[in-house]
């Protein structure tokens, strides 16, 4: 089945220790997104790619970076995680059309000690 896969599902890191979360898709969608979601809050868009074009949200901290080496894979790098970065990180994909739904992965739960 076509899907969005995120690894790992659970990630524990130490304060200030860089961490990378990965996302892959078999849907062949042009657009990939990274969201941060904290408990009882709406998913917050961090950035998205249209193909290789990177689009950063204005309020995304510089601590968050992303790479998309090819259509299938996208990575979220947190350079120096703080306690406030503990959250669920969601990857999603969509077609680049006028009306389209987003397909989400299962998420990676990040814990910062």
């Amino acid at each position: 089945d076509a899907m969005v896969i995120q690894n790992p599902r659970y990630q524990v890191t130490q304060f200030g220790k860089p961490v990378t979360l990965s996302c892959s898709q078999t849907l062949n969608h042009n657009v990939m997104y990274w969201y941060q979601q904290k408990s009882s809050q709406a998913p917050k868009l961090l950035f998205h790619y249209y193909d290789k074009d990177f689009n950063n949200e204005a309020d995304t901290p510089d601590n968050f970076q992303s790479r998309r080496p090819n259509t299938s894979f996208c990575f979220l790098d947190i350079r120096s995680p703080g306690l406030g970065d503990a959250a669920m990180y969601l990857c999603a994909t969509s077609r680049a059309s006028a009306y389209n739904e987003q397909f989400f992965g299962p998420g990676t739960r990040l814990t910062v000690l």
Binding site: A42, P43, H48, A96, E101, F103, G105, R109
Partner: protein, 112 residues
């Protein structure tokens, strides 16, 4: 920027009844609106999309309405089942794939 208001309090209903969830937006009229289901610890799952020129959309036991005058969408689940218990997110878009805004969701609990 767009602001979406969903009832933050959980909605508890009896199995078999119709659940109605409300989504109100405050600024521009979105080109389309979507509803997603999210289970604890999981990513959201797309349910329905309704365009600004559509009044109503149905899919099996689900129905969505879109009232641009009231700036409101209603999401109905008929003949609700305990398996419908989840958080339901309302999402608006001004068009295309970039500008989507998520609501915080309403938690639905269907009691057997």
């Amino acid at each position: 920027s767009q602001k979406i208001e969903q009832n933050s309090e959980a909605l508890n209903i009896q199995e078999g009844k119709t659940a109605t969830l409300t989504c109100n937006y405050t600024n521009y009229s979105p080109a389309y609106l979507q509803w997603y289901r999210q289970d604890p610890g999981r990513g959201p799952v797309f349910l329905l999309l309704i365009r600004e020129n559509e009044k109503e959309k149905r899919k099996e036991r689900l129905k969505v309405t879109f009232d641009t005058t009231l700036k409101q969408s209603l999401f109905h689940i008929t003949a609700s089942q305990p398996a419908d218990s989840a958080t339901y997110l309302c999402v608006t878009s001004s068009g295309g794939y970039q500008k989507v805004t998520f609501g915080t969701g309403t938690k639905l609990q269907v009691i057997p």
